[in-house]
Amino acid sequence: MKSVKVCILGDFAVGKTSLVRRFVDEAFSERYLTTVGVKIDTKTVHPEGAEPIKLVLWDVAGADELSALQTSYVRGSAGFILVCDLTRRETLTTATKLKSEVAAQFGPVPWCLFANKNDLTEEREIDDMALSELTEDGWIVHTTSAKTGFNVESAVLALASRLSIDAGRSP
């Protein structure tokens, strides 16, 4: 089975680790996240019409910009997931910034945005309109809820499908 590295990036407390915990096969101790700044998990997915693919997920500690260390963590990624918190507008700004940084450092890499905490409807600061605008700009946006599990599996599967297609092209 082919393996691919996928990085999960986003601002502090947007729910990256909770999202990963939602769909991974096996979780490492989360001490690594605070010590080394990254937590590694794996998930085997079966995209429709494609070979199963193993995602090696690098849950990079939250930051509003990439440090040298985090940049080294992102290196070699086949794709990445940006995560923002629908209840905090500034996290979308951070996601945009991180996307630009990754693109500048590593060129075009498949990615998507997980707009998380969809369950907190009352506290939302990022509305559907804003998300639609992003979609119109070419962003692939999935509203998710790590708490309820809403859309998490399908969003990961969607990215995995794209990566699987890319992987099929590579040697």
């Binding site: 089975m1 393996s3 096996e26 690594y32 700044g37 794996t42 090696v56 080294s72 070699g76 040697p171």
Partner: protein
């Protein structure tokens, strides 16, 4: 329903009685009691777990139950305890071994057994610390697991060996985590190529070796010598050499090439015995080299001795030659100087000293020659001096040396006779001159008379 019943019902007596009947039945029938007890038993035990009475009460039945269980089916307990006991035993052995090793060097350093001396010699010869040589000879180790990890993306290229420690643990995640830790170490130390070289995994040791495109992570059991790292580095270099492109371009392919897996599997065969072989190998390589060096050394010594002897012979030949040459006197010869020095006295009419030295085999710079002119009284030189003084000799006159005397014979005119007489009178000739064989030519009356002054 009668009024009495209705009244009892209103007062709740009827219900109480039904409840009491039910309770009585449950107390009386053990089967009915079991669900009740089962319901409260865990909480009851938990509640009394801190109580010594509970422990005491359970000690005997639990002990008895275990005993009976082991008696009836010992395998079940073995299976239960194996995951705990295996690592515990290994850890205990490893710790004991390490503790023993701490004092090993000192104790061995104090020892003077033949074996120790041999190991010391080996340490001296190979340049390996003595302790390490001892470890090589006394310890066993093995490579239990080997992982080849892409340096760029942290993906596992291939893995061989047994799943050590946590069989369920995903090796892809382990590979990625090792890469992350390497990056973390590099970032922390500020070195671009910072390297996590080793780590202890319980009683095992993790070694990480980094190549240009891939990292080699090895789980080792025992106490591998540090020189094993050199061997492993060589192995990693070979892997890079043969599969460099594949390693560089690796992006998570399913199956690594068979030759690459085979190379990685070779690592699993590394053991103390192999290493000992490797340790023994240098002498095999060093043997011929040492022999060659010895031969070369002996050759050099032989050459040096031969050259010395040859120089002495050459010097003696030169000395003899100079002694045989008239008009040259050997004053001083210093053969030990570099170059050898030679001081001579030489009559200007003697053979050229430079030519003599060259004919004896000394080239320019081979000899520091110092010549002081002098007047030789040797007959040969006296002869040359006389001949030179009387030159040109008349054609019919011969001047030779015979029995230490200069013999002048033949015929010459009166004029030359006078010249000879004058020379013999005024020149200091240190050898006898015999002119008995010399005759004056008969001059004709027509011969012009040349005044003596003009002649």
């Amino acid at each position: 329903m009668s009024n009495v019943h209705r009244l009892r019902e209103l007062l709740g007596i009827e219900a109480d009685q039904a409840t009491m009947r039910e309770q009585g039945r449950r107390v009386a029938e053990s089967e009915q009691r079991m669900p009740d007890v089962a319901e409260v038993l865990p909480d009851a035990i938990r509640q009394r777990s801190q109580d010594d009475d509970m422990a005491e009460a359970l000690r005997e039945p639990v002990s008895k139950a275990l005993h009976e269980s082991v008696t009836e089916n010992p395998h079940s307990l073995v299976e239960i305890l194996f995951p705990v006991m295996g690592p515990a035993i290994r850890r205990s052995i490893a710790e004991t071994l390490r503790a023993a090793l701490e004092g090993l060097n000192q104790s061995l350093a104090d020892g003077f057994s033949l074996r120790n001396l041999r190991w010391r010699l080996e340490a001296w010869r190979t340049g390996v610390p003595f302790r390490e040589v001892v470890l090589r000879h006394t310890l066993t180790y093995r490579v239990a697991e080997a992982l080849l990890i892409n340096k760029e993306n942290g993906l596992l290229i291939c893995r061989v060996g047994e799943m050590t420690d946590s069989p369920g643990m995903d090796r892809d995640a382990v590979a990625a985590m090792l890469t992350a830790i390497e990056d973390f170490v590099a970032d922390s130390t500020g070195e671009e190529e910072g390297e996590l070289s080793s780590a202890e995994l319980g009683e095992r040791v993790l070694w990480v070796l980094t190549g240009p495109h891939a990292r080699l992570a090895l789980v080792l059991e025992g106490q591998p010598p540090l020189t094993l790292r050199i061997t492993l580095r060589d192995h990693l270099a070979v892997i890079h050499q043969d599969h460099g492109t594949y390693l560089y371009e690796f992006s998570g392919q399913e199956e690594a090439p068979a030759p690459l897996i085979a190379k990685l599997e070779k690592l699993l065969k590394f053991s103390a015995q192999d290493q000992q072989e490797a340790v023994r190998r240098p002498p095999r390589i060093a043997g011929p080299i040492l022999l060659l060096l010895l031969v070369a050394g002996l050759g050099l010594v032989g050459h040096w001795l031969y050259r010395g002897q040859q120089q002495k012979q050459q010097w003696a030949a030169l000395e003899a030659q100079i002694a045989s040459v008239p008009g040259i006197v050997w004053v001083e010869g210093l053969i030990d100087r570099k170059p050898p020095e030679l001081r001579l006295l030489a009559d200007p009419l003697a053979d050229s000293p430079g030519e003599l030295v060259r004919s004896a085999g000394y080239g320019d710079g081979d000899l520091a020659l110092s010549v002081t002119p002098f007047v030789s009284a040797e007959p040969e030189i006296e002869l040359r001096r006389l001949v030179k003084a009387l030159a040109p000799l008349p054609q019919a006159v011969t001047v030779t040396l015979r029995d230490g005397s200069i013999v002048i014979a033949g015929t010459a005119d009166r004029y030359w006779f006078r010249q000879l007489a004058a020379h013999l009178e005024f020149a200091r000739i240190n050898v006898p001159v015999d002119i008995t064989g010399l005759q004056q030519t008969v001059e004709s009356p027509d011969s012009p008379v040349i005044p003596d002054e003009e002649r």
